[in-house]
Symmetry: C2
Subunit: 430 residues, 2 copies
Amino acid sequence: MSWARAFLERYLRIPSVSAQRTGMREAVTLLLETFRELDCDVRVIETAGNPVVFAEKKAPGAKKTLLVYNHYDVQPPEPFEEWISQPWVPTERDGRLFARGVADNKANLAVRLGALKALGGRLPVNLKFTVEGEEEIGSPSLAGFVASNREMLAADACLWETGGKDEQGRPDIICGVKGILHAEAVARGPSRDLHSSVGVAVPSPAWRLVHALAGLRAPDGVVTLPGFYDKVRRADKADRQALAAMPYDEESRKKLYGIDGFLGGLSGEDLKEALVFKPTININGLTGGYQGPGSKTVLPKEARVKFDVRMVPDQDPKEVEAALRKFLAPYRVELVDVHGYPPARTPVDAPVVKAAVDSARDAYGKEPWLLPLMPASGPMYVYRALMPCVSFGAGHPGANIHSPNENVVLADLEPAEKHMARFVERFALL
Amino acid sequence: MSWARAFLERYLRIPSVSAQRTGMREAVTLLLETFRELDCDVRVIETAGNPVVFAEKKAPGAKKTLLVYNHYDVQPPEPFEEWISQPWVPTERDGRLFARGVADNKANLAVRLGALKALGGRLPVNLKFTVEGEEEIGSPSLAGFVASNREMLAADACLWETGGKDEQGRPDIICGVKGILHAEAVARGPSRDLHSSVGVAVPSPAWRLVHALAGLRAPDGVVTLPGFYDKVRRADKADRQALAAMPYDEESRKKLYGIDGFLGGLSGEDLKEALVFKPTININGLTGGYQGPGSKTVLPKEARVKFDVRMVPDQDPKEVEAALRKFLAPYRVELVDVHGYPPARTPVDAPVVKAAVDSARDAYGKEPWLLPLMPASGPMYVYRALMPCVSFGAGHPGANIHSPNENVVLADLEPAEKHMARFVERFALL
């Protein structure tokens, strides 16, 4: 068993669920111990929330410094009954390793550390690691941590936490993330649930919520919130080239998602463009009134929706939030519990991206592809404000991130570790 | 303590909740015993669901027969924590008697039986009673029971189960009920909950449900389902007169409901017309996706709504159901669990209504008012197909029907019993 896999299996046994406040200290302790084993200077930096583990390994004579970002927290494992093996017992099956958090993102830290271990005295760049514990709950402390430690974190580029490959095994190189706004909207009405016979004359918060939501997004998926697209940056020539070269197997994705077709009949270049460069608003949950068995003739006193807004450069979460509040007000729908962060991206033709691409080609023996902006979100903006960022990792399309039976393909660990090693070597030469 | 109140208190101690299948046999047993005490011929008639208690009292020489409809089942008492006294312990407080089911409709049966007891040998009409046990779950067995027992149920008119008075103590005489369709609509999408980052390209059942619902009813409350109003019968002159004379204290209702104003700014005659003569669609409950604390970036695999349609003559539940299915199909929203019944009404100038009005004036010493169609629903159509129907009872605006702390005003029992006695006397003379 490789050093990386041995570390990974120990790491996976820790139920480090930030949303449930479990396993945080155990994860920090293992990280401390591991960074020490790798001859790093390591510190635990407290925040208002969970601590950040900071580690540094200086390479004598190196001119470049790479800052590596990961997180030790993972998603909750529920629903347990859908797991084939226990989420906190890393289990090998059909060439994969199953456990909560293995793909997002414990294996990625393991291969990065595995590369550091393998390089030994040949490390060509200074490495800095920040491993935070609140990524899965929106990284509320990260911006403050970075603002308070800018000198300590100084680097030439940042290696982000995620990445994988497509169905044909071609590695992806990720240049950015969409921004996200999490929010809940509440429509309130009568002071208590009423008998629905009065519904012909009494205003209903459930209907008001429905009309407000229907006004936010058209049936074809186009967002109709006024001004929503005003700041969306147009893809440039390099983006267009990356998009054209980006693989996307529509049939296998439809099968994976269990759908007949994509939204508004999207396909081909339009579908890829939507996934990469288009913002949207998603309903995450609806609730209100009677939800039990049978029927109950009630006019509910309130109705709620949880939703997220996926933003692309240069959309601003504060501006989107303000537009939402303005739009919802006439419906008497109130926005509560709003939080999130802006999008962030590095140009696809940046030198650090080229280093990632070239080293991926070396490590995998396949042509990598560029993802200018990944459909998911992350707090990359905090680092991107200081330096270029790029991301790659050991994931794959069936990794079940955030779902039961999360996994990585075991045969992916070795090339992913090699990718990291070749990347730092190329990065040193930039 | 009057005979009626003593019976009522025994009756209220039985937790006869059809939805929870409790207390059904105990209620039937008490009714059997009570009808026997009143020298009625009584039978328990089994149905596919809960039995119907049928009782008959012949008046020697009487030419008229009145059929009385009540139900021994009541709403579930939940939420218990909102009750000031226990729902199954009838409790006197501030001149009211509190218990689940007291207003809907155990007190009404008690005063009808109290009148029978008081009239004794002076009963001027033949009385037939049908007390069913499934009204609160939609009376699924009632139409079959009536169809199988038409001869046994033959009568000149039917006295329905409900009624009360306004804030000024003026008794209401009810000539009809709205019809109701209970339904659930389901939008299904991907085969499992997906990460919402794909929501820019994957069709969302929650959004489809929102758009389907928004198309059913406009923000001002007007139903936009095609053809919905086609069969709505126009109020005739007598209806208009009844509506004009109908009291409705808007300020006290707003306070009771905890609202600032009525739907679409309704007030005055328009508000009364909506309550009495307009159909509508009500959202009873919304559910789908993540509803727990905090946020979860999920694209839910399905979303659901429970709703009811309140219909007026001559709307037909089957036609409304068909129109709904047709309308929802393009949104890929499926209608499930549809059940209900049509509206029913007797003309406000029918002789049996006049007998109810005149006897109310005798009993209360106040001018009664006519409600051509009550905003709530009931299976009156089953009886209305055979004979005219009218309704009155011992309720009041603060009775909290279907809510915690259901109650009647104790001082209302005596005039309500007197009303019943005077009514059968006037009915005998028609």
